[in-house]
């Protein structure tokens, strides 16, 4: 006996899967006091060296919150290996070495033991106990010292932000010859530089965005430029092949505005993208008035630069 069974099924969806909910305002809209960045200068330093940290806080009126009282502290506890967060919860509330200032800019000395707490140097284990696991690097081979900035935005409520200057440490786990080569070739990170913000309207050539007049409801394109060489090349000890591998920094621009709507909250150039600029469409608000925009350029090793532009939205 021969039997043939044929099953034919046709599927049809009724309606549309509305999986993604509305999550409110995008991060690029400044509708409340916000940290835009904590700029470290230099962005990378060794133990015992001093870095200048500047917390950039903006308000919906477009002004920097220069008068906001802020407290600073150096984090002393590395995060557990099980966490995805950048810093340990303890560093948000406790485990701090306070820096005695209440300004938005501060000079911080990186602790001498920072490479043992947050870097590749093996932590000191108790006598008779097995050696402890050092901190693992990020994909750029970097280690970072968290420095907390605490801002009281409303009475009784604080907003915490962490600057994470990159720390220069020895190369761990690598054979000696590779460690020597690494020390020779590796150059400390430098902050990237914004080379201007331009705007293109009505398909015309982009012009300096400062003071630009943009029609209400118009769709324009902002362009953030950086000079050649901003994306630095640096060696990374690739543990999977146990050799030094050259990487190139990726660059990201975070876009902020007090009104209107950016097409993307962040744009940038990936590691293999040689671009010297990045563009983002912006839908001007329907109501005329001044609009304040900020762009924050970050490289993948932790360097930061900030620029601001004021434009007029006109009828």
């Amino acid at each position: 006996m021969r039997r043939l069974a044929l099953l034919l099924v046709v599927g049809a969806g009724v309606g549309s899967a509305g999986c993604k909910p509305d999550l409110g305002s995008p991060p690029s809209l400044i509708d409340a006091p916000r940290f835009l960045a904590v700029v470290s200068n230099p962005p990378e330093a060794g133990p015992g060296e001093t870095v200048s940290l500047h917390a950039l806080i903006v308000k919906p009126d477009g002004q920097y919150a220069e008068d906001a009282p802020a407290s600073w502290a150096i984090c002393t506890t590395p995060r557990p290996v099980s966490q995805n967060n950048a810093v340990a919860d303890d560093c948000v509330f406790t485990a701090q070495e306070a820096i005695p200032t209440r300004a938005l800019a501060v000079e911080a000395v990186l602790p001498l033991d920072t490479c043992a707490r947050f870097g590749p140097d093996p932590p000191t284990s108790a006598p008779g106990q097995p050696p402890l696991r050092p901190v693992d690097p990020d994909p750029t081979g970097g280690y970072f010292q968290p420095v907390r900035s605490l801002l009281q935005d409303t009475p009784g409520h604080y907003v915490a932000a962490f600057g994470l200057p990159r720390i220069t440490c020895n190369l761990a786990d690598a054979p000696v010859d590779i460690a020597v080569e690494f020390r020779t070739r590796y150059k400390a990170n430098k902050n990237p530089v914004i080379n201007g913000v331009a705007v293109s309207m009505d398909g015309a050539t982009s012009v300096d965005a400062r003071g630009a007049q943009i029609k209400a409801g118009a769709l324009v394109t902002f362009v953030t430029r950086w000079p050649g060489g901003t994306a630095e090349t640096y060696p990374v000890f690739d543990r999977s092949v146990r050799a030094l591998v050259d990487h190139r920094e990726s660059l990201r621009v975070s876009w902020f505005a007090t009104a209107g709507e950016f097409d993307h909250d962040r744009t940038g150039a990936a590691e293999d993208d040689p671009a010297l600029s990045t563009a983002n469409d912006w839908l001007a608000p329907s109501e005329p008035g001044p609009v304040h925009l900020w762009v924050v350029l970050r490289d993948s090793r932790g360097g930061t630069d900030v620029a601001s532009v004021d434009v007029d939205v006109v009828p």
Partner: protein, 879 residues
Amino acid sequence: MRSIALTCAWIVLALAIGTSTRTARAEGDDDAPAQPVITKAPQLLHFEEAVYPPDQKAKGVEATVILTIAIDDKGAVSEVEVASSAGAAFDAAAIAAAKKFVFSPAEIDGKPAPVKITYKYAFQIKEELVSLGPQINFEGTIKERFKKTPMPNVKVRIVDLDIDAVTDEVGGFAFQDIPVGTHKVELSAPMLITVVTEEEIVKGKKKTVTYFVEEKEEGVDEEEVVRAPRIKKESVETVIRTEEARRVPGTQGDTLKVVQNLPGVGRSSFGSGQLIVWGSSPKDTRVYVNGVEIPALYHGGGLRSTVNGDLVKSIDLSPGAYGADYGRGLGGLVKVETKNLASKGTHAIIAADVIDTSAMVSTAISKKARIGIAGRASYLDQTLGAVTSSDVGDFVSIPRYYDGQLLAQLELSKDETLTAFGLVSDDKLDRTIPSDDPSAVRKEKTHTGFWRAAAEYKRLFPDGASVVVAPSVGIDRNEVVSSFGDVPTEIHTTSGRYALRGAYRRKLNSNATLTVGADGQFTHTEVNRFGSITLPAREGDITVFGQPPGSQVNADDWTVNELTVGPYATAQVTVGKLELAPGLRIGPVLVDGSRLIPLIGTTPTQGYRRLDWTFDPRLAATYHATKKLLLRAGAGLYTQPPDPEDLSSVFGNPTLAPSSAVHLVLGGAYKLRGTLTLEVTAFAKYLWDLPARSEQATPALAQALDQDGVGRSYGGQLLLRQELVKGFFGWVTYSLIRSERRDHPDQDWRLFDYDQTHVLGVLASYQIGHGWEFGGRFRFTSGVPRTPVTDAYYDARSDQYDPIFGPQNSIRVPSFYQLDLRLERTITRPRYRLNLFLDVQNVTNRSNPEEIIYNYDFSRREYITGLPTLAVVGARVEL
């Protein structure tokens, strides 16, 4: 449409002798010779079916024509006359047919002679064709003794007549014209314990029987012990027959997906297809096909099973306290058995839908050899976009997969069989969520799969003992290459598996049966891992949906050899109404690893070797309180070797020892009616030596995982089940479960990530009639626990907010409700059978929350919802 048939009953109303003879008798003469006596009546040797007048048939007119048929002394019809007319058309048709009748000659006074008979020819329109001539007078159904499932391909032999038949797909068989008397009937099949019985056939009555027989398991007794229960090693077991499973709404005809609807099984998270059994981790539940362990019952996303349902005979789920013949797992046990291939002919099934296309072909090479092959390939990743919104892919992984199965069965002798089978399954997922922000680009490329090649030799000895030997080999592969912005994750795992199961079983006396066996397995696993140390996520990780992984990365490659021998013994002792099934499983767990500590500089690699002994006693008890009430209890220790992927010196801990659990079960079953049963079960599990991520910021070297974790799950389940009878089946399941973990001694107990307090399922299907069938499934489950975000801070380096969490798993995703319906129509024709169905999921279009999602600074919380109403229309044609 009704079929139309002619039925005719020929009734000899009067038997007359020839005209001359009748005349002589009418005149009467006392001196005349004695009247002739009919010593033998004519018998109809050839019946000719009349042609039903088409116009009358179309009108549905029925009629009866009474004929007078003259039969000559040779039995031929010499003349036909209408004694009672039913109209010209019917009369003509009846006369034409009757003229072709052939009779045996009648005899008068012992000599052939012409006679006349009266014959009633009835033209009737009936629902079904009833064949004339040979009549079925012995028929029946064969079912498995314990599962009550039909047994196809069973050879039913009437020994004294030397004739046989083979049961069809629903276990049915039939014989025609069996002589009156007592006959010896033998039931046999490769997977069946041969049974012999006697049946008496009575004249004019059809004998209809139902035989309950026992399949051979791992170790079989011979015929004389057939009626003794097989060793019942599982305290709680739910068995679903494939005929029911295929008709469960919401499963799209995939028989193995029915497991997700069984009691004690939690609802898997959206698109995962994980098996969450009695609050156990999905990785702790073992799945076996014919005794061979496979790594996954379902393809990625839980869309389909990895084994073609058309090759499956039964699915058994033991959520806990199972017997000593299985181990290496702390959770539940799913056993899939392939069916016996048809012993005759060639069979084929082709299936296609929006998800995948599959095919199955089986053929009988000879009377003793059969082979079947099946395969499936998917394309849902391309078709889903046509029916859902484009952002579905952001939340759900839709893999492309294929699988294949090869099954060969050979009867070496009457009680000796050899089965060989191969399984292959492969899942690939390649997706990119693009972004103009390099740190937000997400790439995911996974490739998982396995293959198995196995053989199973079974032999039944004359003394009633039996032996089963089942070697298998295979490879599991798991490759993950993903990136979240700049953070990569790469895992390449290849695991060679070599297993040997064997069992010897014999009856010790009338009340005791003993099985001894071994369940050995050797695995050689090679792992190469690079990237994030927090991906893939583990149970107990505190995170939120969509959160980027930690930026810390590392690399390691290592190999692990694991050997578990697993000798075991089980017995069944019957003492009155009490059946005890003690078991013991012991054996070494030998782990040999390549790397004890991470590579540091040029330090030589240091390997390690670890030997642990396990001692796992098991006990199941059954008390037949009454004919309707059965009480059950079970307990056992269970041991699970460490996962080779956890034995990394960088990402895990090479010194992990086996984890353990104790299962306790107490319950009962009450047969409300013949096929309606109520089962209630309470259970408790306690687990220890569970690996968990170290909570330390700087744990000891090579100890990213600790083994201080403990767990407990407890609760109860209820099953009210109506087995398939008169076209109806259904069940109501309810589970009340609490499952908790404590990862480290200094921590509090927390809810298990997969904990679901309430799981309710109501399922029913009914054959309305005229080929229509309607079914529905309603599900309610508590939402899974999640850890709330109470605050957040700004990470200025990555320009993102990181969450600050509240108590772990202290909130839940809202409860899940869903109603699925299925409408099916079956049309049967002599040459084909057409089956149409409509399977509608989420009929009410409820937006079921599936996961919690936050805005960028965690100040706002919303829910990702599941799929809307989804209708699947299908057709099945059997030719």
